[in-house]
Amino acid sequence: MSRDLKVGLFIGCTVVILIAALLYLATGKGVFEQTHTFTLSSRSGDGFAAGMPVVFSGFDIGKVAALELNDEGLVLIKIKIPDRHVKWIRSDSSFILYRPLIGSAQIVVSTVNLKSPPLAENQIPQVSIVNDINDAIARIEPVLEKVAQIAEHAERLTRNLSDPKGDLNRVLGNAEKITTNLASKKSLAEMAISDEESLRSLNDSLKKLKDITNNVDRLLIKVDKMADRTDEQLYGSEGALPQANVILKDMIGKLQKLDKTIDNINTISSDASAGTRDFEILRSDIDDLVDSLTDIVKKMEGLIGTRKNPEFKAP
């Protein structure tokens, strides 16, 4: 086979394949198809464009060929429909310009009665407009107003926050003072109490509390034993009860002292804006201790209160 022939065959065959492929695409797209032109009208040309698809039941059946303005100021929309789709365009068909929020606009054809006579070429139906964009804007307007309000509030807050005499700046100033104060103290308790004397007093109180606990424990053992003794032993002038009474009075005195200390601590702690977490733990320990003392007293009261002659009065 000569070189000329090979080249000829290559060019010939490839061109034939290429033309066949293009013809197939052109035929499939209806390029060679006969078309009918219908004219629609609209008060405004807004949203219409040449090349816009004409859709029936979700299928493209044609496209807008041209837009014109007639003598009466009406916009005339020429649509081209291929022969095979002309059957969907009837005299009672309605035409709607549908402008979705996302995607391109299209003219939607809906035909209720497909047996009605075909649309005459001189008949000019009007296109109604469905506008997703306007609907969306109408729906979004109240939301936008709220957003504007929120933005205004946020702006006010920001202004307040940035004001050197504003609340936040004052709080921050106080916090700074407290932090400076705390930084200069030796221990956590000292930080909370702000004074070494008070710290010593707190330590003493804590020691005393420990003693009280031991005393109360011993007392409980004694009370338990007392319960087994006779009334005489219990209520007699030389009995254990008067002794317990004395101890309890002492204990009440100590508790009153402790109360003052706690009040003092509370005052300091409120100044320190809840201070530190460790101080809270200390306070809760003391509270627990007081609670347990109260429990003991109640227990004792219960124990003693069941007797006929309740000479002993709980504090």
């Binding site: 070189r3 000329d4 090979k6 080249v7 290559f10 060019i11 490839t14 061109v15 394949i17 290429l18 492929a21 293009l22 695409l25 052109a26 499939g28 797209k29 390029v31």
Partner: protein, 261 residues
């Protein structure tokens, strides 16, 4: 500092002049293509030989590469579309990306690597051997006899081979759409028809023609710039090839810009 700006200005001027010179030369060659006297029987013989070497001789290899590479590409793209739930875009991806962009690009790369390099070397060797001077001595126009047939061959070969490559890709698309999406032939062809945009096809064909024009013209031009020294051959070839690839990128970008409008 001043010398730096002088140097920069000089380089910019030279670059601009070289670009303008290439465009003017391209214009001359392009016009010559449409003159009847260009098509002497000697020129036609060269044209046939060039098409034979560029297209016919490599056709089996080209088809094989198109089938293998195209199938691989389509397989990957279809799988990705399925994974990302973009099955609706299969037609647009197939026509807009694979057929009108990747097929011409694959073709032009293959032809550039094979033929442009050969043309560039051939011209440089002819210049070094004083064969160009021989042609001039016998009053044979270099543009008519050497450039025109090669450039026309470039245009014809790239357009035809690129079309073949596109058709091969579309055929392998049938297979892969069935395997990956379980899509029948009818649905596949319908999707293709919906996604086909004739303006895109026209742009792709014009782009192929421009590719073909420049991937042959630039190597010839740089080959003819060789001196009579043998050592100038590799310099001319490497410069020519770098410029060819720059031209390919510029044309590709310009075609994308054209599509945007």
């Amino acid at each position: 500092m001043i010398s730096f700006w002088e140097n920069l200005g000089h380089r910019a001027t030279m670059l601009f002049l070289a670009f303008a010179d290439t465009i003017a030369f391209s214009g001359r060659v392009f016009l010559r293509i449409f003159q009847r006297k260009t098509y002497s029987s000697a020129m036609r013989e060269v044209l046939v030989n060039q098409i034979y070497f560029t297209s016919v001789q490599i056709l089996p290899v080209f088809l094989l590469v198109s089938i293998v590479f195209g199938s691989l590409l389509i397989g990957i793209v279809f799988t990705l579309l399925k994974q990302f739930g973009l099955t609706d875009f299969i037609g647009h991806v197939l026509m807009g990306l694979i057929v009108t962009e990747l097929a011409p690009f694959l073709t032009v790369l293959l032809i550039t690597l094979r033929s442009s390099a050969a043309i560039n070397t051939e011209m440089a060797v002819m210049k070094v051997n004083r064969e160009i001077k021989t042609l001039e001595t016998f009053r044979i126009d270099v543009i008519d006899y050497l450039l025109a047939p090669r450039v026309i061959n470039g245009i014809i070969s790239i357009v035809l081979l690129s079309s073949l490559c596109s058709i091969v890709l579309l055929v392998s698309g049938i297979l892969f759409s069935r395997l990956i999406f379980g899509m029948g032939m009818d649905v596949y062809s319908k999707i293709l028809l919906i996604s086909t945009n004739f303006s895109d096809i026209v742009i792709a064909l014009v782009k192929c023609g421009i590719f073909g024009f420049f991937i042959t013209l630039i190597p010839i031009r740089f080959g003819l710039r060789a001196s009579h020294e043998l050592t100038s051959i590799p310099v001319a070839v490497s410069r020519g090839m770098v410029n060819v690839f720059s031209a390919i990128l510029i044309i590709e970008v310009l075609s994308l810009v054209t599509k945007l409008f």
